[in-house]
């Protein structure tokens, strides 16, 4: 099935239409490793002339796809010839890197943040939040009250902020024996407050002052 000529440049390099330049560079290198004349994997499979044609096409594909202007023109051609749906065509090419670690599903996180965002707009929650942040001393119970009012579970905070549940409980219950050193605590409080859409600076200060007074 001699179909290399039927393939478009994306298919030839086996990259998606929205591939980043990084992915294209890698795909090009992989293709050369397979089709190069020294490659063992295709030894004797193609006659010299055919291999030359194939390599030329791979070279062309790379040169065009790696150049944003040329790539855009090429995409336009593909759209015109019906090989690419207009909706699939990218308007801007990104040199996005490929994530090595995937932590959690970002889609779920987005749903969570949206839910919170809408909830805090409600008037009673707004007034509760304003009431809390206006106080000089903010206790764990205040935070907990607001959290409950918004309807967030501790597990959900753990999922997005990666603060352990026992730590969150210690914060809410003012268990200063269980709390970490100040530098960690401040950061935990900051993340927690941000999730609740509280002014994090004020919330952290209020909490710390309250804690210091309680310890005395």
């Amino acid at each position: 099935m001699n179909n290399s000529e039927k393939l478009n440049y994306y298919e030839l390099l086996e990259v998606p239409v929205d591939a980043s330049f990084f992915e294209i560079r890698h795909a090009y290198r992989d293709a050369l490793l397979i089709y190069d004349e020294d490659s063992l994997s295709t030894y004797s499979l193609f006659p010299d002339e055919e291999r030359a044609v194939l390599l030329k096409r791979i070279e062309d594909a790379f040169n065009i796809l790696i150049d944003a202007t040329k790539r855009s023109e090429y995409d336009e051609q593909l759209v015109k010839s019906g090989k690419l749906k207009p909706s699939e065509r990218l308007t801007r090419y990104q040199d996005k890197s490929i994530p090595i670690f995937r932590t959690g599903s970002s889609a779920e996180k987005n749903i969570f943040f949206k839910k919170v965002q809408e909830k805090v707009k409600e008037s009673d929650i707004k007034s509760l939040a304003e009431e809390i942040i206006a106080k000089e001393l903010i206790s764990g119970q205040d935070l907990k009250k607001l959290r409950k009012a918004i309807g967030i579970e501790l597990e959900e905070i753990f999922e997005v902020a990666r603060i352990s549940i026992s730590m969150l409980k210690a914060i809410e219950n003012n268990k200063f024996h269980d709390l970490p050193s100040l530098v960690y605590l401040k950061n935990f409080l900051k993340s927690y407050a941000e999730i609740l859409h509280l002014d994090s600076e004020k919330a952290v200060d209020g909490y710390i002052i309250n804690l210091t007074l309680m310890q005395k």
Binding site: M1, L40, S44, F46
Partner: protein, 307 residues
């Protein structure tokens, strides 16, 4: 349902018998009923790989009609569940098998009551080898990471394709098709041209040919793999072949080169038993897992199609 795996590969000395014997032993140890068939006619030595210095009976008894059923000449080996049908006692002329005899053997093989039937084929691309290779819908192609072996493997694929075409077309049709290809054509170009030519004369046959070639599955193993070789060689070949040939290609894995293979053959012992802890042995067991999975998938599919 039994799975027939012919093991071929064009080049000689790449380890077809070694792989056949040791895959057979491993499959049998998993509780499968396995038979090894030595179809390297005129160059039979598979029994030695299974630790047997000689075999009393074999295909010759089936061909001279001493026995009617090929199962009767399947000799048990020292491994439970593993039998061997040898051709070591066949006459000197056996390499030039008559077409009728060949057909008789193939039909008998397809009826053997075993879970796995492994056919050890000879080198080269003569009609016997190709027809035995095509006795199943999936064959195992063996290569070593050397240009000579790769070249022969691609030649072998080409020969298998041509033979498959010959099975579908009659003499006259075949002649007119082969007239349009030249010996220098590479395998890729050749198949495309043949199918085009057949389809032009007879669209129905062209479609049948395309369908049969698409359904055919080449599995392949890279033997005598060394650390210096590109670790992705198998995957690359799989990728290229799937892109350019009609059939499906499935890479089963590498089997590491090991001096002790030679030693086990020298001492006429089963490698996998004597050196079960070696990298090569572990490689072989990975391949066996894939074969078992493949058989299971095939059975599920056939159950599905009967419903």
């Amino acid at each position: 349902m039994s799975c027939i795996y012919p093991i071929g590969g064009g080049k000689g000395g790449i380890g077809k018998s070694f792989i056949a014997a040791n895959l057979g032993v491993l499959l049998a140890k998993q509780g499968n009923r396995v038979v090894l068939v030595d179809l390297d006619l005129g160059g039979a030595n598979l029994h030695t790989f299974t630790g047997m210095p000689s075999v009393k009976t074999g295909i010759e008894k089936f061909l001279d009609k001493t026995v009617i059923d090929l199962t009767q000449v399947a000799v048990p080996t020292e491994i439970n569940n593993l039998s061997i049908i040898s051709s070591v006692n066949c006459s000197m002329e056996i390499a030039n098998l008559f077409a009728a005899q060949k057909l008789k053997i193939i039909k008998a093989i397809q009826k053997l009551p075993f879970d796995y039937i492994l056919l050890d084929l000879g080198a080269g691309t003569n009609y016997n080898t190709l027809d035995f290779f095509l006795s199943s819908n999936e064959g195992i192609l063996l290569l070593t990471p050397e240009p000579t072996s790769i070249e022969n493997a691609f030649k072998f694929i080409k020969a298998v394709y041509l033979r498959k075409v010959r099975q579908i077309l009659n003499q006259r049709e075949f002649k007119s098709v082969t007239d349009c290809i030249t010996g220098n054509d590479n395998a890729i170009e050749m198949t495309a041209r043949i199918i085009d030519a057949v389809a032009e004369n007879d669209p129905e046959k062209g479609e049948l040919l395309r369908k049969q070639l698409t359904e055919y599955q080449f599995k392949f193993i890279i033997n005598q793999f060394r650390k210096t070789v590109d670790a992705k060689l198998g995957e690359k070949i799989e990728k290229v072949c799937n892109r350019y040939f009609y059939s499906k290609f499935h890479f089963l894995g590498n089997v590491c080169y090991d001096e002790r293979v030679h030693e086990s053959i020298y001492s006429k012992k089963i490698f996998i038993n004597k050196y079960s802890y070696t990298v090569s042995a572990i490689d072989l067991s990975h391949i066996v897992k894939k074969l078992e999975k493949n058989r299971l998938a095939g059975r599920l599919e056939s159950i599905g199609s009967h419903e």
